[in-house]
């Protein structure tokens, strides 16, 4: 039998070699954190899109069904979910625009990567707050 570890790199030893840790130890950095955030927000928005279709269908079904959906959205849980979707939307929007700029092969210097990254974070928080302040000013506090 081949003794483990005594083989060259081309053959597989009798006992599988351990895999060195990856995500368990790799330090989170702005690069990877914003990337996974773009993915998670994309997933949240996909759920939000299902909500949009439910909302439109309810409206098409008539005022009663629409009223039910509106009251769900108006509940505290509904408002929290909507707030989450708004933030997810702005984060994904800003992150998405950052991606589109990269696709033109611009902004790849580390300094630019970090500046655009923090810009995405700050502007998505700001846009979320602005959107909610305006909507609350127009509609008043939800009950």
């Amino acid at each position: 039998m081949i003794k483990n570890g005594t083989t060259d790199g081309n053959s597989t030893p009798a006992r599988p070699r351990p895999l060195s840790p990856n995500i368990q130890i790799y330090r989170p950095q702005l690069t990877s954190v914003l990337s996974i955030a773009n993915r998670i927000t994309g997933l949240i928005l996909s759920l939000g899109a299902v909500g949009l279709v439910i909302w439109l269908s309810a409206a098409a079904a008539g005022p009663q069904a629409y009223g039910v959906v509106q009251s769900v959205i108006g509940s505290w849980a509904g408002q929290v979910a909507l707030f989450g979707c708004t933030f997810a939307f702005f984060l994904h929007l800003c992150g998405g625009i950052r991606h589109l700029v990269w696709d033109t092969v611009h902004g790849f210097e580390l300094r630019s990567i970090y500046i655009s990254g923090w810009t995405v974070v700050v502007s998505s928080v700001a846009l979320t707050v602005i959107a909610w302040v305006i909507s609350l000013l127009i509609a008043g506090w939800p009950q």
Partner: protein, 128 residues
């Protein structure tokens, strides 16, 4: 032992060879993203300015040709973009044969939701 281990490292790295495709998917993701920027912003601004309004006001808004058209365009771009994006996520994390089934189901789901959304929009637009 595992017979696959006798394949050369280069054979393993080359795998089944290049698909000579993938640019289309990538390009469509970018095109749908570009379309979504104005459409989503229009949607968010509309929702914010209609906050708290009742059914009559809402229905009147969808009945305007601009709103109905934008809503339909939004639904098409949104679910196209989402289907492409979700496919990539599934390919990344699901490595068993299940992924083919899941990708097909996601596609069907996205196309179905697009049609339901468009029909609902048209029903509101042409009602009353």
């Amino acid at each position: 032992m595992n017979r696959r281990s006798f394949r050369s490292p280069l054979a393993r790295a080359l795998g089944l060879g290049s698909a000579k495709s993938g640019a289309q998917h990538w390009w469509a993701q970018r095109v749908s993203a570009i379309a979504l920027v104005p459409l989503c912003l229009w949607f968010v601004v509309s929702i914010v300015t209609h906050a708290g309004s009742d059914y009559a006001v809402f229905a009147a808004w969808i009945r305007t040709p601009l709103a109905a058209s934008c809503m339909i365009l939004l639904l098409v771009a949104l679910f196209h973009h989402s289907a492409l994006g979700l496919q990539v996520v599934i390919e990344d994390y699901v490595h068993s044969g299940v992924r083919f089934v899941v990708i097909i189901l996601v596609r069907f789901g996205c196309y179905g939701l697009t049609v339901i959304g468009i029909v609902a929009t048209l029903l509101i637009a042409f009602s009353g």
